[in-house]
Amino acid sequence: MRPRPISPHLQVYRWQIQMVVSILNRATGAVLAVGAVAIAGVLFALQGDALRWTAIQQHLSSWYGLVFMAGWTWCLVFHSLAGLRHLLQDAGWFCSIDAFKATAWTTVIGSLALTALLMLVP
């Protein structure tokens, strides 16, 4: 059987904020899934020897650790806000085109602001 036609993908659409948020929601979700595996690794390491926490702290407070944590934090904040947006839409709220755009921009700007706040305040 020859390859079946598949539906048009990213390349045929004009970029708009709704699809940016949709794509980033999936991408950040995939990153967070990998991060969740890392959390299991850290917990396993700590139950073996809690002193390993000191080494983890040293890595995370270095420049590359901070870049890493900023990226992870943004993924977490973005996916949370985008997820909240989806839950509200599933409940029937914010379902006009204008509302889709407004909540999408709120998700993007809010995620950047919250990430900056979380990285700078503590």
């Binding site: 700590l46 139950q47 809690a50 839950l87 503590p122």
Partner: protein, 128 residues
């Protein structure tokens, strides 16, 4: 042998898939739970950023923290597994590879749940 029937011919008339709604519902319910638990987890971890190893074990061992950690881990791996499943369904079209990755997806997140939860419990019970 050439197949003249299209896949649609095999599928039409069979009705809906009969299952799958639970995936949609559980994805949203775990998301709802994670809204609260993720905020708690972030605060918990930020609070431990400067803590000593002993303090970390003590914090994990506090009963409320142990319970919330287990809930957070359970919902996180469940939600992750459902999400990765959909991504694989969307992008992996080779049948044998798709099957392999779907099994691997489940195996990895079940393993993560087991490893992380046992680790938390071991720390909790070793904290005095």
């Amino acid at each position: 042998m050439t197949r003249l029937r299209t896949p649609l011919k095999n599928a039409s008339g069979l009705g809906s898939a009969k299952s799958g709604l639970d995936h949609w519902i559980i994805q949203r319910l775990t998301a709802l739970g994670l809204c609260a638990l993720t905020i708690w987890f972030a605060v918990f971890v930020i609070g431990l950023a400067a803590a000593s190893p002993g303090e970390v074990v003590q914090a994990v061992g506090a009963p409320v923290n142990t319970i919330l950690l287990l809930l957070f881990l359970g919902l996180t791996y469940w939600h992750s597994m459902l999400g990765i499943q959909v991504i694989l369904e969307d992008y992996v079209h080779m049948q044998w590879l798709s099957l392999l990755l779907q099994i691997a997806n489940r195996a990895i997140f079940f393993a993560c749940a087991a490893v992380s939860m046992v680790s938390v419990l071991r720390m909790a019970f070793s904290a005095s």
